[in-house]
Structure formats: structure tokens, C-alpha cells
Symmetry: D2
Subunit: 269 residues, 4 copies
């Protein structure tokens, strides 16, 4: 996927690439701080990097959950990150009309897991000509991801990747099935989302839980089996983040984690 | 739910109510034929009845699957069914702007299972003032359906029901967890969808399979545990239907099935 | 199955049959009290009845769990129940040498779910000539129960039945897949265990939890789909029982439950 | 675990250790050939090695499956392997009386996954004083393995390890939950069984299927997350093996696989 992203750095590095940033864009200042820190680390480790931030949280469990600071306001912050640091950016979209709207600000459009079967949304994203990442539905087999990928390529867009983020294991848990990574690499590059893969959905409170102490475990396994990229949500203070606090990686831990993962990557080359 | 539907018949019957019709609206003639037959049966058995048809199939596995005959054309056919037979009607919507559009033609708006966490869609449906049915996501626990219901009621609309349609059991199968029916009845009336509950998703062909010979089994269990309503897709010739042929009930079998189910219903009153 | 049990009553009743009793035999007095009460109820409702009690709990999570009052002592109590009330009896066995040992005291040998794939155990039970009930493993598909049944019949014993007791749904939950009942009836009569089907295994405490308020729900569904028999553990005071207290039915509630179930049974005949 | 095995080589190597051999002991000649080859490889790579072979297959799906060449005959072959090559050996046991019987021939007793909740079996194994490996039940959570471990240690035996072999994912599939490896390492060393983790149980034929092309994938993930040991069944000609042919690694591929895994191991030290 990254070969065709014009503004990505370290394209020739043998490393996995990284999509990282906060869950939601909470403020410009916070977004800039996170991006700057991640870029310092990825430059040092020679990891190709794409900044990620959601402009809107559209599928929260509860109606009183935080959904964002305003769509355009958030998209402009993401755009500013891209311009300020000369890095590609990505955000997730939830309705077909979002595709063109978001494409004006970012380089990569992400289709959420719950929505990956919505043909109009996937096709609208593909038709912008931007790169498209498709999150594997928690209810889909790895083999079933062939069809959303084809919806993108049949729309004339070959810049598509798949993001693995776990599969339902009973009502309250998700498991990453690593067998799916080589299977899905038959269709497109595969990125492992080590944040949402650790979710514990369907909690009685209506707030999704998590197991952040296992981030390193599931990340190492993903790199060892050859994942092309990693997706990490990170925040200077996850406990006080406005969404997904349960699983975001504390920003101070990112360099240590990536350093270990680069070593695992080198062992499989 | 049905108490507040003005045009429904047999409202005082102790029976479960029925939502039935073809999967997709394929033609006016076919829709009228199905509706007429179902109404003859439900009048005989004194079952309150709501006609169902999809104006658009938005989440098919493959881009080359049938998606519909045109949105407005299909919605007008559904409206005609309602007027011709004086029965309430329902259809499923996939984007927030569909809510108002479809509300001009039908009495009940249905939120698909994959989309039941999309706040904007649920709220848009609720704000039309129409009745809203929420399909339980295959990835949601019964307890988690409390929150989509609250998104409707918090929007000032108390006419809401839940449709059970099975839960993921591994990649390729769905199971109905009947324990969930009384649990979800704490939040809203519960309708059992005996068509999609028998799906076998994630088949290698990209065409969802099924086990139609088990329709009677899962329906009887649902009525026995006290489901308020049943949801059935039926077609004169399921094998040649343009979508969901794998699980639709052959129309000729409907009367026999409902007759058995009315007996089970009476046994639990 | 029950046609060939010489000492069972109400053999010609159209009702389902019942296997019921305490989880473990705790004392002769308690066992007699439970049997007497259940027999009064099943005589009134004309339900064929088999007394059940475990002489030994062999697969408890924790080494400090109660395992029994002594094998022979418990078996003699079960035998006494059979003689006192002239009813058939059953117990579960855990090692091949138990088969002959228990066969001296009871009429029906039950193979536990975890052990249903152990060929020597199943064959040893079959070779006693006693009736054999096979619990479906929580890890087995309904279709896979064909093979344990064949291990019994290939040993020259055609008196075999299957007990459904739920299937793993993630780590901490079990679900009854009612589609499996007609599937397994292709191999042998099917009994629904409404006690263990409600277990919540793998709890952090090492003590299996449960959801006893759902007993009626899962029982009604089972009878509605045509289960041949029911398996219920019952106790005058479940909270103080020495094992499986989380799901046993309070003895005082048995008559009310069975009365409702007999009505559902009549509705499907 | 291996620190206390007197006859194991490369004890001070930083490598993972290996339990490997054929599924069942088919003949002395075949067993010697496999052992010799594996020892050559593990000596070269400095991997501590334990020879594994089953003397009896006790839980096959079908009564007509191969179960062994005779218990004592097979145990003597395993013993001969140990003496000939001066390596520790292991076999799996199925009934309490097997514990003492097998302990006369081997160094490590393995408890099968289906039987890991059988207290008498686990305690009998522990009381021999031999090392005990406990396969995680496909129906158990990682946390639930605390209790079988305690049954060993409460019997006065601290030489215990856990073997991960996958968790049920629907009826027909198993998934390795790598989060469980660090969780279970809180109780005992953890060995990843890369043969049985790839099983596809509950196939209609009664013969368990598999996905052997994924052996490398699931092995790399296991080593990357820090598994203490690996369990591999290997055979010169898996397609013609008498059991588990679907997933055994072809012996000729073992050196290449282990060489890659040693590199991953070094990357996490």
C-alpha cells in the first residue's frame, strides 16, 4: 500500500509501516503533540508513518458518549498535521457522503469494521481515488474480506489494505486469529490494529472495556507472522481520553514498543 | 409495539404478530401476490400483520449481487401494498437520509443488524416519529441492545422493538440464543427473525448459505419462550428469488407453519 | 429409549420423559425426599421418570471442591431409591471400570460431556447392556454426536440417548443450539439438560456460575422443538447444595415448571 | 520445567524447548528414525528436546480409528528411544491407572485436553513424581488453567507445565488466543502445540481436518510472544500416518521451521 503514498517517509525501509494517532481528534494542540512525538520516534526507527485521527465517533454504544468536536473542525486539524509534518493522514468515514468530504483533507480513507459490508460506502471511498483501508468486521472470516477488497478494486482503485481488529469470541471478547493474516494477504496488505483487537465489547455499562497490558503480546505476534503494518491508537493520557481510553497505548510507551517490534521484524526478513 | 399502529388488524388477538414479505421488492406483481396470500392466512388465524419488503439491499457480500429495482420505485410498491390491503408496512434503511425518505411510504423503519450501532441512523429513524425496529447485531449481546433502544427513546420515540436474528458462532454459523428474548423484553418487545437466524454467513462463494429445513424448529422455540412477534421472509419460489433465497420460506408452507405456531402460543398464555 | 426400560411408569403417555434428582448424592435422607416429591409430581402429570444422582463428582474445577460421600455408599442410596419407589435410576461414570461397578446398582449409565470422546469409557458402558446416555460435549457439533452413538450401537447396545447441555460461546458462556435437537434425533432420542445448559463456566473463582432464572425459558424452547426428554437437577435448597447450586431448580418450583411444559408438549403433538 | 529434567541437553541455551515426535507410536523403526533426525537438528540448533509419542489414542471420533499397537509394546519403544539417545520422553495418559504404568517408561506425563478437568487423572499423574504437562481444554479459558495446575502442585509436585492447543471457535474450528500465553505463564511454563492448534474438529466425516500450511504462522506468533516451549508432531510421511495426518509437520521441513523460530526467539531476548 505505502509504495503509492507520495508523502510517506522511509518507504524503502524493510520495516512494517505504522498508522497511529489518537482515537478521536480532541483538540489541535493535542493532535499536534501526538503527531510530533510519533514522528520523532518513527524517524529514528525508520518506520513509514501515517497519522490517524477520527473526526467523528459514529457508532458509540451509548447516545451520551463523546462523538467529536465538529466534523470540519476535526478534519482541518488532521489536514494541518499532514501539512505541518509532511506526513500522510487517515480518518474513518461512516456514510457515503463522508467519502468526498474527508478526501479533501486526508490521504487514506478508513472503512469501519461494522460498515465494511456497506457497498455504497466502500464504493464511495474507492471512487475518491484515495487509498482505502477496510477494517475486517468482527463478524467476518478472513476469507470473506476478499469481497470488500474486490468492491474497491472493481471501482478502479487498487490502493487498498485490510485492517485486522479481532473476531467475536462469545459476547464479551475479541480474539485475533493470526491465521487470517496470511490468508488476507492474498487479497491486500494487512495491518494489525493492536488497539481495538484488545477490546472487550458488550460490557454491561455500555462502555467497551479492554486489556491494554496485552498490547505488546498481540503486536509481537502480528509482526512475527508478517503483518505489513500496525495500527495503534495512542494518547499522552489514555485514562482521560474522550474515547477508547481502555485500550489506547500511553504515548510514553510507544518508542519502547516499536523498538522491540522492529527487532522481531528483522528476525523474519 | 402493535398497540400504537393504527392500521393493524387483530390487535386484540392474543397471538404473536407477524412481519412478513419478500426479502427484496422484485416487482409490484410479485409483492401484491405475496401480500394477498399472507393476509388471507393471517386473517384466518387472527394474527396481526405488517408487510415487509426491502427497497434496497445495501450490504451484500459481493458487488455483483442484486441490490434492487430502484429506491423510489420499490418504496412506492410497498406503499401501494399498504393502501391496497390496509395493512401497515415496513422497510429497512441504511443511511440517515433514508429515514425521512422511507418514512413517507411506510409505517415502520427497520435498522439492519450491522448498522444498529450507528447513532445517526438510529436517531434519524426515531425522529421521523415512525415505529422503529432494531435488529440485534450478530456481534452484540442481548444486554447490549439496551443502548440502541435508548437511542430511540431518548429521541422522544417510544415505539421501538428489537428483532433477534442470531449471534455469531465461529465464522460460518449463527445461533439463536433464546435466553436473550426475555432479557431484551426488559427493554422493548422482541421479534424473532426466523429467516436470517438460519443464515450460514462467510461462505467461500460470497453467497450466504442457510438451513431452511430448520425454520419450524427455531420458530417453535421462539414462540414457546414468549417472543412478541415473528419476522419471516417468504417467496412463492425461494430458489429463484433475487436475494436470500437460501432461507426464505416457501409461501405455500406459511399457513401450515403459522397454524402450528398459534397452537404453541396458546399453550403458553 | 424409555420403551425398553422395564420399570418405568407412564410409558404410554405422550409426554416427554424426565431424568431428575440432585446433582450429587449428599445423603440417603435427602435423596429419598427429592425422589418422593418428584414421583408425586410425575405421577400426577403422567410423566415417565428416571431418578438421577451422581455418586462422584470427578471433574470439579478445584481440588478442594466436594466430590462425594463415598462411591459405594452413594451407589447403594441410588439403588435404594430405585427399589423403594420402583423407578429406574441413572448415574454418571468417569472411568471404564466404573461401568460394571455402577451397572450393579442403576439402570442407565450416563457419560459426561467432557468424556464423550473416550472410546474405552463409552464401550465399557455399552457392554454392560444397560441403557446409555451420552452428554454432548460442549466442544462438539450436533453432527459429531453420531460417532459416540455408533460406539454404543457397534458394541451391540441399541439403548442409547443423547443429552444436550449447551455449546461453548466464548470462554465464559454456554448456549443451547436448538437446531441440534432434530439433527441429533437422527441418531438417537434427545434429552435437554436444562441445568448444565445454563452454566457459566470458567469463572475466575473456579466455581461455575449460572443463570437459574432462565430455566423455564430454555426448557420451553426444548419441549417446543420436540425434545424426547428433560434432564433437571433439583434440590430443596439449591443455595446450600454441595455442588452445582448455581443452576439447580428449587424443588418447590418443579411442579409449576412441568405443568407448563406439559402444555407446550401437547401443543406440538 | 526443563531445569529439573536430568537428562535434557542444551539446558542453558536461551532457546525455547521442544517436545516432538510422531502422533502415535506406529513401530520401533519409525520412532527411532524420527527421534534420530530430530535430535540431529536440535543438537545443531541447541534446542532442549523431549521425545513425544502416544502409546494409545483413546479419544478418536470413530470406533474404527487406529488406536495403537499395544500399550506396553508402545511404551517400551518410547523407553528405548530415551535410552538409545539419552533424551527425556513423554506420553499422554487417559485413565488414573495409566499414570503409574507410563511413569515406569517415560519422564513426563501429559494430560489430554478433554481430560484436564478429571481430578483423579491429574492427581495420579502428579503423584508419580514425574513432570506433568496439562493440555488446556478447548473449552477452558486461560485463567481456568490455574486450577488444574494447582491440582498438581497441591499433590506435592512442582514440575508442571501447560500446553496451549487452541480454543473452540464455533463448531468446526479452533483458534489460538495468544493473550492466554502470558496469562498462563503466571501459573506455569507454557508450551504451544502447533499441531493440534490447527485442527478443524467436528468434520462430517468423523475425521478431524487441518490447515498444515499455517504451521509456520502460528509457531512464529507463539515464539514472538514468549512461549517457553513448542510441541510438534512430525512424521516422515504425514499423509500415510495412522493418526493426525492432517496436521503433522513433514519431518523434512522441521529444520527449516526451527531455524526460523530460533531467529524470532533471539529477537525477543
Amino acid at each position: 500500500m505505502i509504495e503509492t503514498l507520495s508523502n510517506i517517509k522511509h518507504k524503502d525501509s524493510p520495516n512494517f509501516f505504522l498508522i497511529a494517532g489518537p482515537c478521536a481528534i480532541e483538540s489541535e494542540d493535542m493532535a499536534l503533540r501526538i503527531a510530533e512525538r510519533v514522528i520523532t520516534i518513527t524517524d529514528k526507527l525508520e518506520i513509514p508513518y501515517i497519522f490517524k485521527g477520527s473526526f467523528k465517533k459514529a457508532n458509540r454504544s451509548r447516545i451520551d458518549s463523546f462523538t467529536g468536536i465538529g466534523d470540519e473542525k476535526a478534519l482541518k486539524i488532521i489536514q494541518k498535521i499532514g501539512e505541518t509534518f509532511d506526513v500522510p493522514t487517515t480518518t474513518d468515514i461512516h456514510e457515503p457522503f463522508h467519502a468526498e468530504m474527508a478526501a479533501a483533507y486526508v490521504d487514506v480513507l478508513q472503512i469501519p469494521a461494522f460498515l465494511v459490508r456497506q457497498t455504497d460506502l466502500v464504493v464511495a471511498a474507492a471512487q475518491t481515488g484515495k487509498h482505502v483501508t477496510l477494517k475486517k468486521g468482527q463478524f467476518l472470516s478472513p476469507e470473506a474480506m476478499k469481497f470488500p477488497v474486490e468492491k474497491v478494486t472493481d471501482s478502479g482503485n487498487s490502493n487498498v489494505a485490510i485492517i485486522e481488529r479481532g473476531t467475536m469470541l462469545g459476547y464479551g471478547d475479541l480474539v485475533v486469529d493470526y491465521r487470517g493474516i496470511p490468508v488476507m494477504q492474498n487479497y491486500a496488505p494487512v495491518i494489525l490494529d493492536i488497539t481495538h483487537s484488545l477490546q472487550q465489547p458488550n460490557q454491561a455499562s455500555g462502555v467497551t472495556g479492554g486489556k491494554p497490558e496485552l498490547i505488546e503480546t498481540i503486536a509481537k505476534a502480528g509482526i512475527a507472522v508478517g503483518a505489513d503494518g500496525l495500527f495503534i491508537e495512542t494518547h499522552p493520557d489514555p485514562k482521560n481520553a474522550k474515547s477508547d481510553g481502555a485500550n489506547m497505548l500511553q504515548l510514553d510507551l510507544l518508542e519502547g514498543l516499536l523498538t522491540k517490534l522492529v527487532r522481531v521484524r528483522q528476525a523474519i526478513l
